[in-house]
């Protein structure tokens, strides 16, 4: 039973309960009145989905691709969930299709799960056969979906109740009845969403339209797990064991030539709950020191220890191949402590300059002041971004990004450093100089111009009056009419930008929005930026 809008309702039934005449969605009180001996248990949200997901991972033994069929949410789909297993090219390993189905049913029965199975060339037909075929384990011969489905009720096409009702009104009860109807007439008669659904589902079941399956992905294979005889009760213990797990995980990753892009530390509590936190890396790494530092900065205390942790697991949920990179020849061989061939390189690949090697790093820098960052600096940068992002959040670490636009505040925006594409989209050099500081949004100013369409002679900004000594402009930027109007509600107007200088030498970038002569909207003046 589950909690519904009007009290407890039945969410799932076993055959015995169905035999008593109970139905899904019935209120618990009514059901108890019908069957006083009813045994019921509360459903946890997501419990069925989790179980199905586990089953999907197990079912990967039968085929490379297993997809979940959870059905539309909240449409009384309960009891019809299932799995799709793509067995193309895998059935001969089990001795044919029939043998595969028999093996599947037998194994599931041994686990205590009663399963209805069907096999066909399309997901839709298999769905229909598994649920509505008169006998279990029906197999549609290749290309024979139309014949196999003809005698099944139209509900087998995965239709919404509205569509089924609509078909029933026209006397169409079997899928075979649909074959005889002309398609154009069918679509015309069942107008609207319900009608389109009938055509779509029929075509999918018969293989006229493709229906791709999205497979369930296996959980990460790279983890380090530790079970404790005595539960960990303090954050210090988490830090200590976490560091050991990091080393274990890094050794595993090194064996596979991989680096972690995201690591998750999960704690299993004595009260049966789990607590976890994760840290993301901008560049794949398997340097234990860096990972430990990252977790420390995220905060070991993010694991809520509660009454104690029975087990700790550190997993690399996202991994990437980590290329071995060769340190530059100019760097002296003592750069990395320890010296044996590829191992040395693998360590330095995720290495950041530590205090010990600061001397060499500096010596290398003096060699040339090329604009191109050397790989060592690049790696140090990636490590820095990781640490800043871990502590301050992703929205705090930013880099400029350029867009194709000539509205200044749009042309150059800020994006999270980690997410922005690393290939430098170079700035489009503007014809006119741009300020060093930009106000977003622009700030309104009171300006007095000598000529209606000229540069201002005086203006007041932030309650200080300024007299303009020099001015240049205008630089006219037309509004981008293909964009939505701004939030201020008025249509975007032409902007005339002026560079002004006041008596003290302050250099400003102001613009007039709108033109004189437009009776509806008087032009307004705005401060947009400051020049050095």
């Amino acid at each position: 039973m589950e909690r519904g809008p009007r009290g407890l309702v039945l969410a799932a039934l076993n055959p015995a309960a169905q035999a008593l005449g109970l139905r899904l969605g019935q209120s618990h009180a009514d059901a108890c009145a019908l069957a006083p001996s009813l045994k019921s248990e509360a459903v946890k949200p997501g419990q069925a989905q989790d179980a199905l997901r586990h089953l999907a991972l197990w079912a990967q033994r039968y085929g490379p691709l297993v997809a979940l069929d959870e059905g539309p949410v909240g449409e009384g789909y309960c009891g019809l969930e299932g799995l799709w297993i793509e067995t193309t090219g895998a059935d001969h390993l089990f001795g044919g299709e029939a043998a595969l189905l028999a093996d599947l049913t037998a194994r599931l029965a041994r686990m205590g799960a009663v399963a209805q199975v069907g096999l066909a060339g399309t997901p839709g037909a298999a769905w229909a056969l598994a649920r509505f075929a008169p006998s279990n384990a029906t197999i549609a011969p290749p290309g024979g979906e139309a014949g196999a489905l003809a005698s099944l009720p139209v509900e087998a096409l995965r239709l919404s109740p509205a569509a089924v009702q609509l078909l029933g009104r026209f006397g169409v009860r079997r899928i075979g009845d649909l074959y005889a109807l002309p398609r154009a007439g069918l679509a015309r008669r069942f107008r609207g969403e319900a009608g389109m659904q009938v055509i779509l589902r029929l075509d999918q079941a018969l293989g006229r339209l493709p229906e791709p399956l999205v497979g369930e992905i296996a959980p990460t294979a790279y983890f380090a797990h530790r079970v404790f005889a005595e539960p960990i009760l303090h954050t210090e213990g988490v830090a200590q064991w976490g560091a050991r797990l990091v080393e274990e995980l890094c050794a595993k990753l090194e064996g596979e030539g991989l680096g972690a892009r995201r690591i998750v530390l999960t704690g299993f509590r004595t009260d049966g709950r789990t607590t976890w936190f994760s840290a993301a890396l901008g560049m794949a790494s398997r340097d234990p020191e860096h990972l430990i530092r990252l977790l420390r900065e995220r905060g070991w205390a993010r694991l809520e220890v509660g009454f104690g942790l029975d087990a700790l697991r550190l997993s690399a949920s996202v991994t990437e191949p980590l290329r071995l990179s060769q340190p530059s020849l100019s760097a002296s061989p003592g750069l990395v402590p320890g010296a044996h061939g590829a191992r040395l390189d693998a360590h330095s690949a995720a290495h950041m300059p530590r205090h010990g090697c600061a001397e060499q790093v500096r010596a290398r820098r003096k060699g040339g002041d090329a604009q191109e960052l050397d790989p060592e600096t690049h790696r140090a940068m990636a490590a820095l971004i990781d640490r800043l992002t871990a502590r301050l959040g992703e929205t705090a670490v930013l880099r400029p990004v350029w867009r194709e636009s000539w509205t200044p505040e749009r042309a150059e925006g800020l994006a999270p450093y980690a997410a922005a594409p690393s290939t430098s989209a170079s700035p489009q050099p503007a014809a006119q100089p741009r300020p060093i500081l930009l106000f977003t949004p622009p700030e309104p100013i009171d300006a007095v111009a000598e000529l209606p369409d000229g540069a201002p002679a005086r203006f007041t900004w932030r309650r200080a009056a300024r007299r303009v000594t020099r001015a240049s402009g205008p630089e006219r930027l037309a509004p981008e009419w293909w964009r939505k109007p701004s939030a201020r509600g008025r249509p975007a107007a032409v902007r005339d930008y002026y560079r002004l200088e006041d008596e003290d030498g302050g250099r400003y970038w102001v613009f007039r929005e709108g033109l004189y002569g437009d009776e509806d909207h008087l032009p307004s003046w705005w401060m947009h930026g400051l020049f050095p």
């Binding site: 950041m352 300059p353 205090h355 600061a358 790093v361 500096r362 820098r365 003096k366 002041d369 604009q371 960052l373 060592e376 600096t377 690049h378 140090a380 940068m381 490590a383 820095l384 640490r387 800043l388 502590r391 301050l392 929205t395 705090a396 670490v397 930013l398 880099r399 400029p400 200044p408 150059e412 800020l414 450093y417 430098s424 170079s426 700035p427 503007a430 741009r434 300020p435 060093i436 500081l437 930009l438 106000f439 977003t440 932030r462 000594t469 020099r470 001015a471 240049s472 560079r499 200088e501 006041d502 003290d504 030498g505 302050g506 250099r507 400003y508 930026g529 400051l530 020049f531 050095p532």
Partner: protein, 236 residues
């Protein structure tokens, strides 16, 4: 006329003309402070420090750390404008933090990482301990860290030098007499570990991206405001 010869001895307008730097001032490794006033002062200070730092080595990235409220009030950094100061197409890392403490932490992390060669922080109140840490981290990495201050400092600071920068009427525009030309700043070295001090009017050459001194009598002449003249009389 602008004399832009870096070899010429400068024309210090301060009373203590005995200590004069050999050429336009540059920033060294370690912690420096730039004191400014007002919104246009912030832009001038940034202009000065970025052009002065552009003369030094640029092996790493440029990092800017500032609290969000500072960025909202003073304006956000525009890379299109920074590029004009001779930073080329170096990547800019902007760290927008919630508090000043976080900004200080980010600066220190950047310096210790070995990837940042110039770090600029907009931090008003930094303790002696925090500035000392920044200075040590910067010198260990061979990088420069600059704090921009808009309010008079209450705490002691471990900065190597303290500059005061104010905007100055710009140089003449080559084609348009009504327009502003190369930016100029009035730069005063107020305090320095090695005892040097001085005051300059500096101009940024927009073509070579170098700082050069503006000749005392050239163009505008050195136009001492009343306040500066008063200060001179007092100190003299």
């Amino acid at each position: 006329m602008i004399v832009s010869a870096p070899f010429r001895p400068p024309a210090p307008i301060s009373a203590r003309s005995d200590v004069a730097a050999a050429s336009a001032p540059t920033l060294a490794a370690g912690l420096e402070e730039v004191c400014v006033e007002g919104a246009s002062g912030v832009a001038a200070g940034l202009g000065f420090l970025l052009s002065a730092a552009g003369e030094g080595p640029c092996w790493g990235e440029l990092m800017v750390a500032a609290p969000r409220c500072w960025l909202r009030e003073r304006g956000r950094f525009l890379a299109g404008g920074l590029a004009r100061l001779g930073l080329g197409d170096r990547a800019v890392l902007i760290v927008a933090t919630t508090t000043e403490i976080e900004a200080l932490w980010a600066l220190e992390e950047g310096l210790r990482s070995g990837a940042v060669s110039l770090a600029v922080g907009a931090v008003e109140a930094a303790s002696l301990l925090a500035t000392r840490r920044l200075d040590l981290a910067a010198r260990a990495a061979g990088a420069t860290v600059v704090l921009i201050k808009t309010r008079p400092a209450r705490d002691l600071s471990a900065a190597r030098r303290r500059w005061r920068v104010a905007p100055h009427p710009s140089g003449p525009h080559p084609w348009d007499p009504k327009a502003s030309g190369s930016p100029r700043w009035r730069v005063t070295l107020e305090r320095s570990r090695d005892g040097a001090s001085g005051a300059w009017i500096l101009e940024q050459d927009l073509e070579t991206h170098r700082l050069c001194l503006v000749e005392k009598l050239a163009d505008h002449g050195v136009d001492l405001g009343e306040r500066d003249a008063l200060a001179l009389r007092r100190s003299g």
